[in-house]
């Protein structure tokens, strides 16, 4: 009876050890998608394979172009915020990185700027792989990936615009020294 109990206990603990160590990572998901794509595209014609490769390259290039552009916008917003803080001799309160006082205008602006900037960086690293279903669906399969990118970029734009609006409200709310 004791041996049975020990065996059962060891199996239970080893199960949790295996599942804790075998969790799926984002790289695993991407590898799985890539593997599925490679298997499916091998059955497509050479012409389709080349066109798919070209289209994928353009999607990656467009994502990179847009995120680089948005990254510059975020940096510009950051420079303006820094200048505003300097002009008004404001002191940004240090925090523990977890709690934020979003009622404080500068801290609020800093939060949403960082939020948008991090979203841009995350988007820049995204990899888009076609989810091929069948040869007859090649148009809709590729279009859905393009639509996905479009949707992601729209969300990103709204975050960047929100940050911009908050910082603009901040710099216009106080009487700051006008340009000479």
């Amino acid at each position: 009876m004791k041996i049975f109990l020990y065996f059962f206990l060891s199996l239970t603990v080893s199960f949790f050890a295996v599942t804790a160590s075998a969790r799926t990572t984002p790289a695993d998901i991407l590898n799985s998608q890539k593997s599925a794509y490679d298997q499916k595209v091998a059955a497509y014609s050479t012409d389709h394979q080349q066109k798919l490769a070209g289209l994928s390259q353009k999607i990656t290039g467009l994502n990179k172009k847009i995120t680089a552009d948005l990254g510059q916008n975020m940096e510009r917003q950051g420079q303006i915020l820094e200048e505003y803080i300097r002009r008004n001799s404001l002191e940004e309160k240090s925090n523990n990185g977890i709690t934020r006082n979003l009622n404080e205008p500068v801290e609020n602006a800093r939060y949403w700027l960082t939020f948008a900037h991090e979203a841009v960086a995350y988007q820049a690293g995204k990899i888009y792989i076609f989810n091929l279903t069948s040869k007859s669906n090649i148009k809709s399969d590729t279009n859905s990936t393009i639509t996905q990118l479009e949707a992601d970029i729209n969300i990103l734009n709204s975050k960047a615009l929100k940050s911009q609006k908050i910082i603009k409200n901040l710099v216009t709310s106080r009487q700051s020294p006008e340009s000479r």
Partner: protein
């Protein structure tokens, strides 16, 4: 069952678990690290894109509100339309 036996069993169980995981990895062909897919090549610069003008630095003379208004998001709807068109021609 005393405490020492319990600890010993837990340690053995964890070792069994990791050994199982290692064995599964060996049989499944090892770790498949993420590699940049060959289908995604280095993007080339579009010949029709024009470089964005370099903005002057923000300093004590800058009109902050005006500078904020200058930050306008670029409209990429044309790029997406041409991608959709290309996909529809597959």
């Amino acid at each position: 069952m005393n405490f020492k036996k319990l600890v010993f069993i837990i340690i053995i169980a964890i070792l069994i678990g990791f050994a199982t995981l290692y064995g599964i990895k060996i049989f499944s062909g090892g770790d498949r690290k993420l590699q940049i897919p060959q289908i995604i090549k280095q993007p080339s610069t579009s010949p029709t894109s024009t470089p964005k003008p370099t903005l002057p630095p923000i300093d004590q003379n800058s009109n902050l509100e005006g500078e904020m208004d200058k930050i306008t998001p670029t409209d990429y709807s044309g790029d997406f339309s041409s991608l959709h068109q290309e996909a529809s021609q597959l």
